[in-house]
Amino acid sequence: MEKKQKLVVIGNGMAPGRALEHLFELAPDAFDVTIFNAEPRVNYDRIMLSPVLSGEKEFEEIIIHGDGWYIKHGITLYKGHKVVNIDREAKTVTSDAGTTEPYDKLLIATGSVPFVLPVPGNNLPGVLTYRDLDDVNAMLLAAQSRARAVVIGGGLLGLEAAAGLKSRGMDVTVLHIMPTLMERQLDPAAGYLLEKAVETRGIRVMTKASTKEIIGNGKVEGVLLADGTTLPADLVVMAAGIRPNAMLAKEAGLETNRGIVVDAGMRTSDPDIFSIGECAEVGGQCYGLVAPLYEMARVMSAQLAGEQEAAFVHSETPTKLKVTGINLFSVGDLGEGDDRQEIVLRDAAAGVYKRLVLKDDRIIGTVLYGETADGAWFHDLTKKRTDISDMRDTLIFGQSYQGGSPLDPMAAVAALPDDAEICGCNGVCKSKITGAITGKGLTSLDDVRAHTKASASCGSCTGLVEQLLSLTLGDSYNPSAVTPMCSCTDLGHDDVRRLIKAKGLKSIPAVMQELQWKTSCGCAKCRPALNYYLVSDWPDEYADDYQSRFINERVHANIQKDGTYSVVPRMWGGMTSSKELRAIADVVDKFDIPAVKVTGGQRIDMLGIRKEDLPAVWADLGKAGFVSGQAYAKGLRTVKTCVGTDWCRFGTQDSTGLGIRIEKFMWGSWTPAKVKMAVSGCPRNCAEATCKDVGIICVDSGYEIHFAGAAGLDIKGTEVLGLVKTEDEALEHVVALTQMYREQGRYLERIYKWAKRVGLDEIRRQIMQDEPRRRGYFERFVFSQKFAQVDPWSERVSGVDKHEFQPMASIGYQQAAE
């Protein structure tokens, strides 16, 4: 077998991600792939950062390749490694962390860097760019102060940033140096309409505004304009454009101009080195929109797979603005000239403006504002160079007015030719979508996204894809329906929870029978969810169904990638002793446990334990007084603490004691998703309580209760629930809040997502102000704990579920001798 070639990729953005997808399809076993990503995370959809900023999407929703994808394809991904050197002689690259990797083929996809205005003060704290998730997180943090933001740049990015910050409650001003907004994509009339629309959202727009200096002492305080105006600001976002990031290639001696110069096959001046994405310059042009970047990815992977004729061809890409409520579409050449004519439609009252630029009876440019449904059709006419002279009179009214079938949007989509492009980002045409719907039996938008990628990037063609779904499937497609729990039922999580209570359903078979499940015994999505709902709703009557629990909750340890397990005992409030540590050390030695690690939740993880050894490990730990830390559970995990008034000279309350009290009160409880808590003894917050599901900050006057934080894929500071005076009250409020979440949360929905859905004010009202209701929650929690607080480890040491830990048989050689 031929030895695999080594492909090293610098950069982990959308273009190289797409290139690798193609490559694995075309030549699945040809390359060993290593990726260096300067960002400490996986590949995500950068186009969708604006909806994350505005709060319309979560970061999880915009991930393109999760960790599993890298594992599946055997890719080595160095997260947070910036490549600092390419040695073309030795054919190696080296990262800032000192890692050196050899390559046979190298792909440089370093993207672009934001353009930072060369004005004094541009490096003050509080001056941000808008490029990656870190920038978004920094903006979200700044937005919490509800202060004043100035966005420099009235282009696509700047306006999206401004809208996002505004929806997060900031007071926003956009500065634009040109007379109208988005002047590169829009004509002045559309730019003016856009400016009005942006202003009606409460965003101030200043055009012809030239920034002279960013002022501030130690941090941003304002922006000084060339005309002498000073705008006070606590946050300045630079969104004045991007520059191809060609530095690394230039230092390596590759030919660069504005970007890294490549031929139509995406090869740089070194034939073993390719470049794609915003850093590449092909045919004298650099690109910033996703469609041409994906085209580069397609060409480059085809070249790598040996298709030498694959070549990049320039095409115009439509621009769309992702600000909810503003519809805008622009593509092509909008300039005026003697050889050009134009058709314009204005409806000031309806806020509609449409302009087509024509040359030789063909459309060469389109601007649509307010009503953009015909954008794809106009663009299609441009691409095909269709002679429009026959329909010129009605052209501007759109496709549905051609051929006498007006005003039915479905008819318009039905009339589109099979090769009409529906998804510009991913280059998916109509027939590919309809073919997948019928050929693969797809029934939902998510299905279509999974199989064709149509509408899976910026999402602006979602409407068209949904129309294709209803055209193809007829009445059986119902887009407005609640998302079902899984394909076993049409009911959503909330309906199922309500019906379990209303109909008094107390077993999984009863739920499936009464609610007309479509499968005989569910699937791996609905069964664990139903099991949780039943445990939560009928704590005394329901018999927990272990066969419906994920393996970790069945064997009370965490499965690892090699099939071994890890074990984490509880250390109440993070406190431990020499006796406990000695017992752990003895267990590690006795069972030859390969790795021991201190966790982020202030306890100790033993990794690499064979499944057969688990009961004996627990027996030894149990003798030292340990119980399961439930580090595997959709339930209470840890309560992290600081040392509080016991030791700390700043402590205001006994935070350690309160943490231990909460953990001892609440351990063993099951919840919709994991729950991590913390108690800090003073506002210095050493226990990091403000990024937990529930956190307490002790202050002189009592206990400030926080909730709905996150510090995983999402980083989100907590919201304040309220202040209480005594430790008893703190416990009662925390418990009541958790019970409310237990009763209402959807399975796998963390507290911060539940809180967003239910509303922070509603939660505050029920827990802080409605005492009878709070007492009710508290008492139901206490009741359910009577059945939940059984240490699963000691149960199993005494013989429960023995079959889980032993093979049924071991067939050796002798038995075969019959």
């Binding site: 066969q547 994920f550 099939g563 079959h803």
Partner: protein, 109 residues
């Protein structure tokens, strides 16, 4: 190939699985809700996850590592994933489960 007794149906919980060590590696033996018995290699075609540890539903199992769904009847991955795991023929003799296993020749003395 020879038929070997590997246990009884009562050793396996309904909608559950047990594993059996064989000279050719671990196999996973499943018992469905309806009481059918299936055996397949205990090795997901995706990243080698132990299928015997997955959740059993209908005549399929969901791998605990990355949630691939494998048909117990055919060994094929279901849904959008593609891959296949070896199935092992099973015969019931009263309550006892017989599996047809390939055993090394040295044992045949």
């Amino acid at each position: 190939m020879s038929w070997v007794e590997i246990g009884t149906i009562n050793d396996i919980p309904r909608r559950g699985a047990r594993c059996v060590n064989t000279p050719n590696g671990k196999i996973a033996v499943f018992r469905t809700m309806e009481g059918q018995i299936f055996a397949i290699d205990d090795h997901c075609p995706h990243k080698g996850g132990p299928l015997s540890q997955g959740i059993v539903h209908g005549a399929s199992v969901t791998c605990p590592l990355h949630s691939w769904v494998i048909s117990l009847e055919t060994g094929k991955a279901l849904g959008a994933d593609e891959g296949c795991v070896k199935t092992i023929p099973i015969r019931l003799n009263g309550d006892s489960i017989m599996a047809e296993l390939e055993l090394p020749a040295v044992a045949a003395e």
